[in-house]
């Protein structure tokens, strides 16, 4: 197992170039420039994500090895504070910034888009979207993201579901009452028997 792990220590993020342009829109909300934060709700909102090769780089042959585009939802720094399980590490095999997969698409020079309904197990946090380009082996070659290099602009806040349901709340109350009621009942019976 150690051998497998050793073979996979991989690409450093700092060695990748940002060659893609990625945008993410929340359906029904307008995109404007500047460090604005938008909110999306799990289960209700869709995200429209578009990616394409930077227009200034077309025709230069940079994308000759590009096979697949992996689009991922990544935690913004504010959501990584005191949360080591979301830590940013330069080695992409250990990096936990972008643990939520959105989709994978085949690379084309014209670019593509995807309409993503936010899954119910996405935690409530502040995010940005990043697309990694990989070759046939799955090794990352380049990337693009919706935010700047400091990860402070164009962030998206996602509000998650609570996971609670009315039926569970009612069941909790019933079981709790039964528990305490059983104890009180037994106590009453015991003390009556004593007399």
């Amino acid at each position: 197992m150690a051998l497998v792990v050793a073979a996979e220590t991989g690409v450093l993020f700092s060695s990748l170039e940002e060659t893609l342009v990625v945008t993410a829109d929340i359906q029904g909300q307008n995109w404007t420039d500047g460090p604005r934060i938008r909110t999306a709700r799990v289960g209700e909102d869709h995200m429209l994500i578009k990616w394409a090769l930077n227009s200034t780089l077309t025709g230069l042959g940079i994308d000759k090895n590009y096979m697949t585009v992996n689009i991922r939802l990544c935690f913004a720094p504010i959501s990584q504070v005191e949360r080591g399980w979301r830590k940013t590490v330069d080695d992409l095999h250990k990096d936990k910034t972008c643990t939520i997969a959105i989709t994978s698409q085949k690379y084309t020079t014209e670019g593509n888009f995807t309409d993503w309904r936010i899954r119910k197990n996405v935690p409530g946090a502040t995010y940005f979207v990043r697309a990694y380009v990989t070759d046939t082996d799955g090794t990352q070659l380049a990337y693009g993201q919706t935010t700047d290099s400091l990860k402070t602009s164009n962030l998206i806040v996602i509000e998650s579901i609570t996971g609670r349901h009315l039926s569970m709340d009612v069941a909790s109350i019933i079981f709790s009452t039964a528990s305490v009621g059983a104890l009180i009942g037994f106590l009453i019976v015991e003390f009556r028997r004593l007399k």
């Binding site: 197992m1 080591g84 998650s160 609570t162 069941a171 709790s176 059983a182 104890l183």
Partner: protein
């Protein structure tokens, strides 16, 4: 009001002021009892099998108090073996509920937006409540009996378990874990019940096994909760954030069910329940002030409360952090991380009982000095293996080290309660309760210092915890019994067991004969001199305390 001459009931039957008797919490009652005064007026016909108050014969061999003389683990004979199984199972269920959250932490932390500090606070809260509830449980067992003690605690804390499914933020999470944690006091009722049901010769095995199997709950939960979570997710189709909430109904329902079963089928004493039995003979209430005084002025209590904090406290800490540690550091999935974490708690099946057995073996050969060396050695080895665990970075070796570490740490718990009964006879209850509470304090302190902040990763926290275990075990070297010695010094030749235990009673109390039960214990305690003195101890009668000039320290 002139006091009537008291007749002492047998030590482990006296019911006194709050805290004055927590008999059975120890795990090691004296094993050489020359006579056992009958507590109840039994009408045992000579030659006929002993029967309880309702005339039913006992299925196990019993002594004159109707306490069982053997432990037949694979049976449920009433009342003894049924009490044994109800006892360890109720303790196990409480451990299960207290540590039900950690194996699901990777899901819970995302749903409730917890950060490392919140998770650390919740871990501290889960073990902090029992610091107080363990001390109170002794009183409840004295007054109402272990049956009511255990079952009422389980039924009162079960609503907290159900409330976990209502939590939506970090504060709620910390509060709920705090209230659930109170139920860890069933340790006290478990040990108390075993001492009421089992004779001194076997109560050690009964207590050690019941405590060990109860602690296993912390291991079993790491397997069961991820399994239940996956079943709810895949077979019922709930999403993650709902599935973990539904999963919490499992420990809650089991806790209510077992609480009711204990109420219906449990029995406090071999002859019946507290509420059914009439107390026969005079009952002496010891003075709470005196009992408390002799406990807090005995430095050994503080040393063992500290060391128990660094074996049992460490065990609680690991129960809280280990699944998340393996999930994050070694990239295991939830179920696999839970399985690895479970192996830690499951070692309790034999580690803790074995610790008690090792302590007994050491005592048989080297007396109390053997017990002290055994305790120090095993706990220090636990600290060293903890240091190694913090350093190891590969999964396979980490699991091996984890298992070694779990053995040493749990065996150390067993060895500690091999020594506790001998620290004091009069204040045995408070000292035992304080030691148990010290375990929880150790868990609170350790988690607060090493696992709350993010300035260093968890593996470094484990390394530091190992160093702290080694350091906090060193005070065992300073425990000195004048009649038996310490790790590095031999006994004082002029002080005997009788002197030591008599010194807890002043002249007035001695003239009234209140110290007689302690003297009986002192005779039994001669076994702690070791094998070269053991045969002498068996032949000697009670020494006349008045002929001794010195009082023990």
């Amino acid at each position: 009001m002139a006091p009537t001459p008291p007749t002492w009931r047998l030590d482990n039957e006296s019911v006194g002021e709050p805290g004055s008797s927590l008999h059975g919490v120890t795990g090691h009652e004296p094993t050489f009892l020359p006579t056992i005064d009958p507590v109840h007026e039994h009408d045992d016909q000579p030659g006929a099998p002993p029967t309880d108050l309702k005339g039913r014969p006992f299925k196990l061999p019993v002594d004159s108090e109707h306490k069982a003389k053997t432990v037949r683990i694979w049976t449920i004979h009433r009342p003894h073996m049924l009490a044994f199984h109800l006892s360890w199972f109720s303790f196990m269920v409480c451990f299960f509920s207290t540590f039900a959250a950690p194996p699901l932490m990777p899901v819970i932390r995302e749903n409730l937006n917890l950060d490392k500090i919140d998770i650390g606070n919740a871990g501290v809260a889960s073990v902090a409540g029992a610091v107080v509830s363990r001390v109170l449980m002794g009183t409840i067992c004295d007054l109402l009996g272990p049956r009511f003690g255990a079952s009422s605690l389980m039924l009162i804390t079960a609503p907290a378990v159900f409330c976990m499914s209502l939590v939506t933020d970090p504060t709620g999470f910390v509060l709920v874990r705090f209230f659930i944690g109170f139920c860890l006091a069933t340790f006290v009722s478990c040990q108390f019940w075993m001492s009421s049901m089992f004779n001194t010769k076997v109560v050690g095995i009964a207590n050690g096994t019941a405590a060990g199997w109860g602690n296993m709950g912390g291991g079993i939960v790491q397997l069961v909760m991820p399994g239940v979570f996956h079943i709810i997710r895949h077979n019922i189709g709930s999403n993650d954030f709902t599935a973990w909430r539904i999963a919490f109904f499992i420990p809650g329902v089991i806790q209510v069910f077992v609480g009711i079963v204990v109420l219906i089928f449990g029995q406090d004493l071999p002859d019946g329940n507290y509420s059914e039995l009439k107390r026969k003979g005079d009952k002496v209430n010891d003075s709470f002030k005196k009992v408390f005084l002799y406990a807090v002025t005995n430095y050994r209590m503080y040393i063992f409360a500290l060391t128990y904090g660094y074996c049992f406290g460490v065990e609680l800490t690991i129960d809280n952090i280990i699944a998340q540690y393996f999930y994050d550091r070694f990239d295991l999935n939830l179920t696999t991380a839970g399985t690895v974490a479970a192996s830690f708690g499951l070692m309790n099946l034999f580690s803790r009982p074995l610790g008690g057995v090792l302590s007994d073996l050491a005592a048989a050969r080297w007396g109390m000095r053997g017990r002290l060396w055994c305790s120090w050695t095993i706990q220090t080895l636990g600290g060293i293996s903890c240091i190694i665990l913090g350093v190891v970075g590969q999964l396979g070796p980490a699991i091996v080290v984890l298992l070694l570490f779990s053995f040493f740490v749990q065996a150390a718990c067993g060895t500690t309660f091999g020594i506790i009964p001998f620290i004091s006879r009069r204040s045995l209850g408070i000292i035992s309760g304080a030691t148990g509470a010290g375990g929880n304090v150790g868990a609170v302190v350790t988690q607060a210092i090493f696992f709350l902040n993010s300035s260093y990763p968890t593996e470094r926290g484990i390394l530091y915890m190992g160093i702290m275990i080694v350091c906090c075990t060193l005070p065992v070297c300073f425990v000195y019994f004048p009649q038996w010695g310490s790790m590095f010094c031999g006994p004082s030749k002029s002080v005997t067991e009788a002197d030591y235990y008599k010194s807890e009673w002043n002249k007035d109390e001695q003239s009234r004969g209140l110290h007689k039960a302690s003297m009986k214990f002192a005779e039994n305690a001669k076994s702690e001199r070791g094998s070269q003195h053991g045969s002498i101890a068996a032949k000697e009668g009670l020494e006349d305390a008045n002929t001794k000039g010195e009082t023990a320290v």
